[in-house]
């Protein structure tokens, strides 16, 4: 027995010596290419006018209008490509004014936009409040303010800004702004009818239509009409295949209606975007597909990299991943609660309710129960979770 045990220990130590150096903080292996023509990285193509503007800004750094144009271009790139490096670039372009309490109004708007994109909602809201006081007729400022206020459940402020857009922008924009507010107040049916009617009548710019169609789809989903929701999102994606929000929502709908294979297919090839990767990983995991293992590994790597640099990346997505793939309901609840403290959209409410149900922790869902009671929201999915939670 002694001999056997000793042999076992020796074997364990040998195995440990082999494994451990690889496990403990290894740097990635290096290589040297042999072919000078081999492409190492793809980078943004250089736009001559942008290069000239940057040079001019370098020579005269106080020229805020140049900085604003350059930053706006980078934010637009972020919107199209969902690549967060462009946000960092935009912020760096505005560095000279970034820490000012009262920067120029154009900078205020861009600063609020960047803050909102990295979930610094209180800061974004402060900037936007200031901006609408300075420029009460700025439609974009009101719209952004309405979006941030809706996310942080300040519905009074959101309504104010939506009403401002009613007189400053088109009826479709105003209706789309107000749609989530009406829906959360329990009037999803009315909001749906109004918005559908407006969209049918007016054409509108494709970006506006896409955004309105997505809002319409969310209303339909709330009412339990998943077919209509998927149809609207199909049109939105036809208008803009790179619409990350619409694609995510459609994938979620497909998974909710039992078509995970469809969801996986429509996200394939887009996994560089984290919110797409997590959904595809969940879908493939449910399907027990061959791609499940590398996708899950990639997602874990992304989460680890974000944690390493101190970002709480996509708390919502991280909670969903913990719930659906890691099968760690307690961790999912913790993440969902942390997420709820940052943003309070319907998706966040559904997530916290679902996680609390899975963990058998009714207490954890108390904020959502309170929110649902206060707002009077009626959502087929959320109601189902809450009903089961309450009867436990």
């Amino acid at each position: 027995m002694l001999a056997l045990g000793a042999v076992g220990l020796a074997a364990a130590l040998t195995a440990a010596a082999f494994v451990a150096p690889g496990r403990v903080a290894a740097a990635a292996a290096t290589y040297v290419p042999s072919d000078a023509a081999q492409v190492i990285a793809t980078v943004p193509m250089r736009d001559p006018s942008e290069v000239a503007a940057r040079r001019a800004l370098g020579e005269a750094p106080e020229r805020v209008e140049l900085a604003v144009e350059l930053a706006r271009a980078d934010i637009e790139r972020y919107r199209v490509l969902s690549d967060p490096r462009y946000l960092g670039r935009a912020q760096a372009t505005l560095a000279r004014w970034w820490t000012l309490a009262e920067p120029p109004p154009e900078v205020l708007l861009l600063r609020a936009t960047i803050e909102q994109a990295v979930h610094q909602f209180p800061e974004a809201r402060a900037d936007l409040d200031r901006l609408v006081r300075l420029r009460p007729d700025d439609a974009q400022a009101h719209l952004t303010r309405a979006v941030v206020a809706t996310i942080t459940a300040d519905y009074a402020a959101a309504r104010d800004s939506c009403q401002a857009t009613a007189r400053l922008a088109s009826a479709v924009v105003a209706a789309t702004c107000a749609a989530p507010l009406d829906a959360i107040a329990g009037k999803a049916d009315d909001a749906y009818r109004r918005l559908a009617g407006l969209l049918g009548a007016a054409r509108g710019d494709p970006p506006v239509r896409g955004w309105a169609l997505t809002a319409l789809a969310e209303l339909a989903y709330m009412r339990g009409d998943t077919d209509a929701a998927q149809a609207h999102l199909g049109v939105a994606l036809a208008l803009d295949p790179d619409d990350v929000y619409a694609r995510n929502l459609l994938a979620d709908l497909r998974m909710a209606t039992g078509h995970s294979a469809e969801a996986s297919r429509m996200l394939a090839g887009r996994e560089q975007i984290d919110s797409h990767l997590v959904r595809r990983a969940i879908a493939e995991h449910e399907l027990h597909g061959p791609d499940a293992a590398p996708l899950i590994a990639a997602m874990r790597e992304r989460l680890a990299a974000a944690a390493e640099r101190g970002d709480r990346i996509h708390l919502r997505e991280e909670a969903r991943f913990a719930l659906a793939v890691e099968l760690d309901a307690d961790r999912a609840v913790r993440l969902a609660r942390a997420n709820w403290s940052v943003q309070k959209e319907l998706a966040d409410a559904r997530l916290l309710a679902e996680a609390a149900l899975a963990a058998g922790d009714r207490e954890a869902a108390a904020p959502v129960l309170a929110w649902a009671r206060t707002t009077g929201v009626h959502d087929v999915t959320l109601d189902r979770f809450l009903a089961r939670l309450v009867t436990r």
């Binding site: 969902s82 994109a117 990639a298 997505e317």
Partner: protein
């Protein structure tokens, strides 16, 4: 009319606190990690991990089989650079990995502006890159500047693409007790860039050009691993009770169908030695394989199983099911090793002298164990014929069985 802002797609949220992330090295009493009365530690699910290089090879093979569509393209993530440093006497050695994409943003590597950086363009830019990095990285040892030298670079592939891997070496005036890093790459073109300094088993986030000091001595030394081992077993009531249940009957042995007090201390010692050695070997094996991550079990299952093992040992005393208690010690001792390893992982395993740390911790556990056994065994032998011993054996085992059953429920339900 301008475009409406699309609803917030969740994005990275920078950490508002400027605190470096560190592994905790506090004493066990401050940690919920292995308090037997407490609930669970959040840990990973059951898996068997392959060594890193093998795992990478496997992943690549899977990608090739599934086709290009399955392999995630380079991730869209915020900008990071990695600086790895180790002290080697009075030298600092390591590597600085900078994303090629970021270098293009800073220096304009893409000569023909076609949106692709080739190896030729990159090699041609090597001197400029070295110059760029040299002027933006300063190292010091306890405040005294070190002369930084950059070697000839290669490439490394990370999740978001190719990185320029620059070997870094710095000659310092003495063997450092702490390192200061002043890092200012890329912040002027990307405010969300982060330098990640991997030093002494910690990762420190560099978010601006202010110098950051990292103490090297904070890494747990071999000697203190021994102390941690001793401390941990003394704090581990469940481990001690398990062992006690097994050795308690040693002074009261079965002989010719009747139980009676043992005559020879030497026989008793031999039996106890067998039991303790079996327990030691078993938990050493699982401690080692679990601490390096070869096998990784959910903590709730481990803690519950350890509590149940204490119940089993106590019941065995009452029901006399298995006389060869060394076998019980070995079989159930395997579980206890998993419990120890979570502590060891929290302490942070050093990359150098890893085996030393493992053996040191294990040695500490054995010493602590031996101290308890050597203190109690003579007492037990002395009282073996008394009523007090009978009470201890029967009522004590019964009480332990009940307590450990309660623990099992607590840990399972936690």
């Amino acid at each position: 009319m301008t475009d409406p802002t699309s609803p917030a797609t969740p994005r990275a949220m920078p950490d508002p606190m400027n605190a470096p992330t560190r592994r905790p090295t506090t004493y066990p009493i401050n940690r919920p990690a292995h308090c037997p009365m407490n609930g669970r530690i959040a840990r990973s699910t059951i898996c068997v991990k392959l060594p890193t290089t093998a795992a990478r090879a496997l992943t690549v093979a899977v990608f090739a089989i599934c086709g290009l569509a399955a392999s995630p393209a380079w991730a869209h993530k915020p900008s990071d650079a990695h600086l790895r440093l180790e002290a080697d006497g009075s030298m600092l050695v390591g590597r600085l990995d900078i994303a090629v994409r970021d270098l293009d943003g800073a220096l304009g590597i893409d000569g023909d502006g076609n949106g692709e950086v080739t190896w030729g363009e990159l090699s041609a830019a090597a001197p400029r890159i070295a110059d760029y990095a040299q002027h933006r990285l300063a190292l010091a040892a306890d405040g005294a500047p070190c002369a930084v030298q950059l070697g000839s670079a290669a490439l490394a592939e990370l999740s978001d693409g190719a990185y320029w891997a620059l070997p870094v070496s710095a000659r310092c005036t003495h063997e450092p007790r702490s390192i200061e890093i002043a890092y200012s790459l890329l912040f002027d073109i990307d405010s969300m860039h982060r330098g990640l300094a991997h030093v002494a088993g910690q990762t420190v986030i560099l978010r601006d050009a202010r110098p950051v000091r990292i103490a090297l001595g904070d890494a747990t030394s071999s000697g203190s691993f021994v102390k941690e081992g001793v401390w941990h077993i003394w704090m581990g009531i469940d481990h001690i009770l398990f062992l006690m249940c097994l050795i308690l009957p040693a002074v009261f042995q079965r002989r010719t169908q009747r139980w009676s007090a043992a005559d020879s201390l030497r026989d008793v010692c031999k039996e106890v030695f067998e039991i303790v050695t079996a327990f030691t070997l078993a938990h050493s094996i699982t401690l080692v394989i679990s601490a390096v991550g070869l096998v990784s079990l959910p903590s709730r299952a481990v803690e519950t199983a350890i509590a149940l093992s204490v119940v089993a040992a106590a019941l065995n005393n009452l029901l006399r099911t298995i006389d060869a208690r060394w076998a019980v010690a070995f079989a159930l001792g395997l579980l206890h090793g998993f419990g120890f390893s979570s502590v060891l992982i929290d302490l942070g395993l050093p990359s150098r002298e890893l085996i030393g740390a493992l053996l040191g911790f294990n040695l500490g556990v054995e010493l602590g164990q031996a101290a308890i056994v050597c203190a109690l065994l003579p007492v037990l032998f002395w009282i073996r014929r008394t009523l007090a011993y009978q009470a201890l054996l029967w009522a004590g085992s019964g009480a332990v069985a009940i307590i450990a059953t309660l623990w099992s429920f607590q840990r399972f339900a936690a």
